[in-house]
């Protein structure tokens, strides 16, 4: 039982917490981390038995709880550079905190063998395209010797008894569920073999299991479906199991296509607004011109109610809701509304006023106590939209003292509890179904649309299918917060004596429960009782180089924006600032950017990805004027990543014409190398890197929101310039390290972003000779579009679509 290990871990952590509280400095935390690292690294990480549970049921049901199977990293220290002490994430990072927070309840995660021979698992996570349904099927198929199509993985409804163990965030899914699912699957396989041995009257050791069929020496075989009742347990029982050895893997580590690929290409995959729930008619909300403005009243209610297709109009906290036969008629009705609005939460504010307030909140950089040259720069990162392509949406049916919700939700338990509270219902009266989402990037951590749908349904007394319009999502949706990142380095003749980074940000909203899970566990981590944001910052940010005294601190300011943990959270901006400064330091020391990094990187495992990226990209090759390579690395998610890009900043490229699009500098080639530890599905990992890379291009070069007079200007994809075909790199080489020294899977979903942001920024600076001091680099360019009106809040649907056919 892992209890003794957990106790040991808590003891260690308590000691560290006490130490850290005594001296609230980053240096003290680092010392604590060093001590903790030594303790952790002494632990036995050999192969061992795991415990699971047979659950009393008519057919075979096996449950398991999460156990720490090994301790991350025993990396070899770097011989070069001025050693920096271990930073917290090197020994205990966000993934550890998430897994520890989930430990007490994970035994409720169940694998069931059905009478039709398929194996079912309700994954308590949310898949929005990251491919975790496919990778989960692979893990079960591996341990039970099944084909992928014999495994049925669905997304679990909100299950409050799971407490923290139903959160999808921090690229934690595989890391947090891998062992538990394997334990349950392995026990199930063992029970099925026992049952077959009894029925076939043969020794268990002589049986073979393949594709759901157990075969004996005499050639007789029995399918899982015929064994599941015999294998079932009449009582709950704790059992021990040894997991399949890695060398015997035949599914894990092989490239697999997403199991819903055919449904997607035929249009059969159903998203929330595709669901046909009886009576749930299209519904939208007419929203305020100000960010988070609220309605004071509507002057033409009767007129709107009598418009074509309209069935209901209701005032809700965030605006005026209208339900109609079609979404098109909802939009026409919302456009016709004459609404009086109250001011929003950032009325009158703009980019400059918010930036000025952030500057006043910036933490001081410590005055260096060492002699050397000081390099210092400050970078500004403007707001970016967290919009997915599927706008916020939810179906709600709130009638007769109960509520039923369908929505893409990464934290359905918090959604259920909050909706129950707001509706005045017991949480047991609220059923929340998790639907696959059309992208998330952090957005679905929040249940804004589900709550609204519930409120609208209650007000109308009818089921509703609520959808945010694109303008809603762009102007009122969640954003990656504006931030400044300042870096000061002190450099001696041939080494870096200190490297300080101070990140100051509009507050990131962790009020979706993710934060509660993290802080509850992270209080045990080195560093102790930090706030939510500071904890996540401390648990995720690493300066990967031996730069002497190396510190990173976050300060946040609450303003009333709708922020969120957009893909990779703080890291894209932190990495951009850090890597630009690394290039500056290298230049100061007269060193090549790659040579300098590889000489100062802290560990061999990290250096391996850097060296591989440089090699694959042919680093240092001759490039024409106006073009350049850039290199960067980033450490997170129990892995390591490095990126080399080539950028073309020549006028003929920057100014190439695209109708209603932004061109700008073109990243022409990307080489990305990632070590995510044990790889479940290399094809899926590559896909996640590709998405992260394309996100990074947008974050760095083209896409931002502009705050003007209390609202965001951008209202759609012709204003907000996410990467398009004409921006994406013609050449992309993604290398997923398959012989990682780590034997457990880390995180992948967000890993592509930060290193690419850093590499693009560095390449741009090298190609143009100018180090940008804000991002994206086009933020202060004149708008290449005419801003859409604020009232009505939805632009008119065009009628000239047939003019553009091809």
């Amino acid at each position: 039982m892992p209890a003794h290990r957990a106790a040991t871990r808590r003891d260690i952590s308590r000691a560290d917490s006490a130490a850290a509280e005594a001296a609230h400095t980053a240096e003290a935390r680092a010392e604590a981390a060093t001590r903790n690292a030594r303790s952790l690294l002494r632990r036995d990480t050999g192969r061992r038995k795991f415990l699971g549970y047979l659950v009393a049921a008519p057919t075979l049901v096996v449950a398991a709880e999460l156990t720490r199977q090994s301790v991350f990293g025993a990396p070899t220290a770097n011989a070069l550079g001025l050693p920096s002490p271990p930073q917290t994430p090197e020994v205990y990072d966000l993934l550890d905190a998430l897994r520890d927070s989930m430990r007490p309840t994970a035994h409720l995660v169940r694998v069931e063998v059905r009478k039709d021979g398929t194996v079912h698992f309700a994954l308590p996570r949310s898949d929005n395209g990251q491919g975790i349904i496919t990778s989960t099927k692979m893990i079960i198929a591996e341990e039970m010797d099944l084909e992928l199509d014999q495994v049925d993985v669905t997304l679990a409804d909100a299950r409050p008894e799971l407490m923290f163990n139903q959160i999808t965030g921090g690229s934690s899914t595989t890391f947090t569920t891998y062992t538990a699912i394997r334990v349950a699957a392995a026990i199930a396989r063992g029970r099925l073999l026992d049952a077959a041995a009894a029925l076939l009257e043969q020794d268990k050791g002589t049986l073979t299991s393949r594709a759901g069929l157990i075969t004996g020496l005499n050639g007789r075989s029995l399918p899982f479906g015929e064994l599941t009742e015999a294998a079932a347990s009449p009582v709950d029982e704790v059992v021990e199991v040894v997991l399949k050895d890695r060398k015997d893997f035949r599914v894990i580590g092989t490239p697999q296509t997403k199991t819903d690929a055919r449904d997607i290409v035929t249009g059969r995959k159903k998203f929330t607004t595709d669901l046909k729930i009886p009576g749930a008619l299209p519904t939208i909300i007419c929203r305020a011109p100000d960010l988070n403005g609220t309605p004071a009243g509507i002057d033409n209610l009767d007129e709107v109610r009598s418009m074509p297709g309209v069935t209901d109009v209701a005032v809700v906290p965030t605006g005026i809701a209208v339900r109609a036969k079609t979404f098109g008629q909802c939009i026409e009705a919302a456009r016709a509304m004459q609404v009086r609005w109250k001011a929003g939460t950032v009325a009158g504010e703009d980019d400059e006023s918010i930036l000025a307030k952030l500057r006043r909140a910036e933490l001081p950089l410590a005055v260096p106590a060492v002699a050397g040259d000081v390099l210092e720069r400050s970078f500004t990162f403007y707001f970016r939209s967290n919009s997915a392509l599927e706008t916020n949406c939810a179906i709600a049916d709130v009638r007769d003292g109960k509520a039923e919700i369908w929505a893409p939700l990464k934290n359905p338990i918090v959604a259920q509890q909050d909706i129950a509270k707001r509706l005045g219902l017991p949480s047991s009266a609220v059923t929340v179904h998790v639907v696959q989402g059309g992208g998330s990037f952090g957005r679905r951590l929040f249940h804004d649309a589900a709550l609204e749908a519930a409120q609208v349904s209650k007000a109308m007394g009818k089921p509703v299918k609520l959808m945010w319009t694109r303008a809603d999502d762009s102007r009122q949706g969640r954003v990656h917060p504006m931030a400044t990142s300042r870096v000061r380095a002190v450099v001696a003749a041939d080494s870096v004596l200190s490297f300080e980074q101070r990140h100051t940000s509009v507050a990131t909203d962790f009020g979706h429960g993710f934060g509660e899970a993290v802080t509850s566990a992270a209080a045990k981590a080195p560093g102790g009782q930090l706030g939510v944001a500071a904890t996540i910052f401390e648990l995720t940010q690493v300066t990967p180089y031996d730069f002497g005294v190396s510190t990173r601190l976050l300060n946040e300011v609450e303003f009333g924006f709708n922020t969120g943990s957009m893909r990779n959270v703080y890291s894209p901006d932190v990495a951009t600032a850090r890597e630009l400064m690394v290039d500056q330091i290298a230049a100061k020391l007269g060193k090549d950017p790659y040579e300098f990094r590889t000489a100062t990187v802290k560990y061999d495992r990290w250096r391996a990805v850097l060296d591989r990226a440089a090699e694959e990209a042919n680093w240092g090759k001759s490039m024409p004027a106006g073009t350049a390579q850039g290199i960067a690395m980033h450490i997170e998610y129990k892995g390591a990543s490095a990126c080399v890009v080539e950028i073309d900043c020549r006028d003929e490229t920057v100014n190439r014409p695209i109708r209603e699009g932004v061109t700008g500098p073109r990243v022409t080639r990307v080489t990305f190398v990632v070590d995510v530890g044990l790889v479940i599905n290399p094809r899926g990992v590559e896909a996640q890197m590709m998405g992260g890379i394309n996100d990074a291009l947008a974050m760095t070069l083209t896409s931002s929101l502009h705050l003007v007079d209390g609202h965001f200007v951008e209202a759609s994809w012709d204003n907000y310039f996410y990467t398009r075909q004409w921006n994406t790199p013609p050449e992309m080489n993604i290398v997923v390290i398959e012989d990682s020294p780590s034997d457990e899977p880390g995180g992948a979903g967000e890993f592509g972003v930060a290193a690419t942001c850093g590499a693009v920024a560095c390449a741009y600076a090298r190609a143009t000779g100018k180090v940008p001091d804000y991002f994206p680099i086009n933020h202060k360019d004149p708008f290449p579009f005419e801003p859409k009106p604020l009232v009505p809040p939805i632009p008119p649907a065009p009628t000239n679509g047939l003019d553009f056919i091809y």
């Binding site: 690929a261 079609t326 008629q329 599927e390 706008t391 679509g801």
Partner: protein
Amino acid sequence: MPEHRLTINGQQVTVDVDDDVRLLWVIRDILGITGPKYGCGINVCKACTSHINGRAFNPCSVRVCDVSEDDEITTIEGLADGDELHPMQQAWIDHDVAQCGYCQPGQIMAAVAKVRQCAEEGRDVDDAAIEEIRNICRCGTYNRIRAAIKAGAANM
């Protein structure tokens, strides 16, 4: 209420709806054909891309009264020949293009039309042709889309 006769995925249908309702909502909300997606409603994101008489168009920006029953409208649901996938759909699977999949019906319909257009105009389906496709993929699958279009084009 005005009656409109339409031909969608080879089937003739009649809908009672006002003239100016955009075709996307007729297809999705009235007929229940949900392959074409809403992503912006103003002909920018192209998630609703479907075909009219074999050419790509965006039903979010066409009024129902502006098409007739003589116009052959095809959504992603009508692209395959029964269980036999269109070569572009097969290429999408072979290259494991989709992540969330929300934009992919529109991407595939756009790709098929672009390949046909290139063939008519005697152009290669190269990067320059593919960069004329405006469909947004917020998951950033563009590079696999490129590979799939080239493979699908070779089999069309």
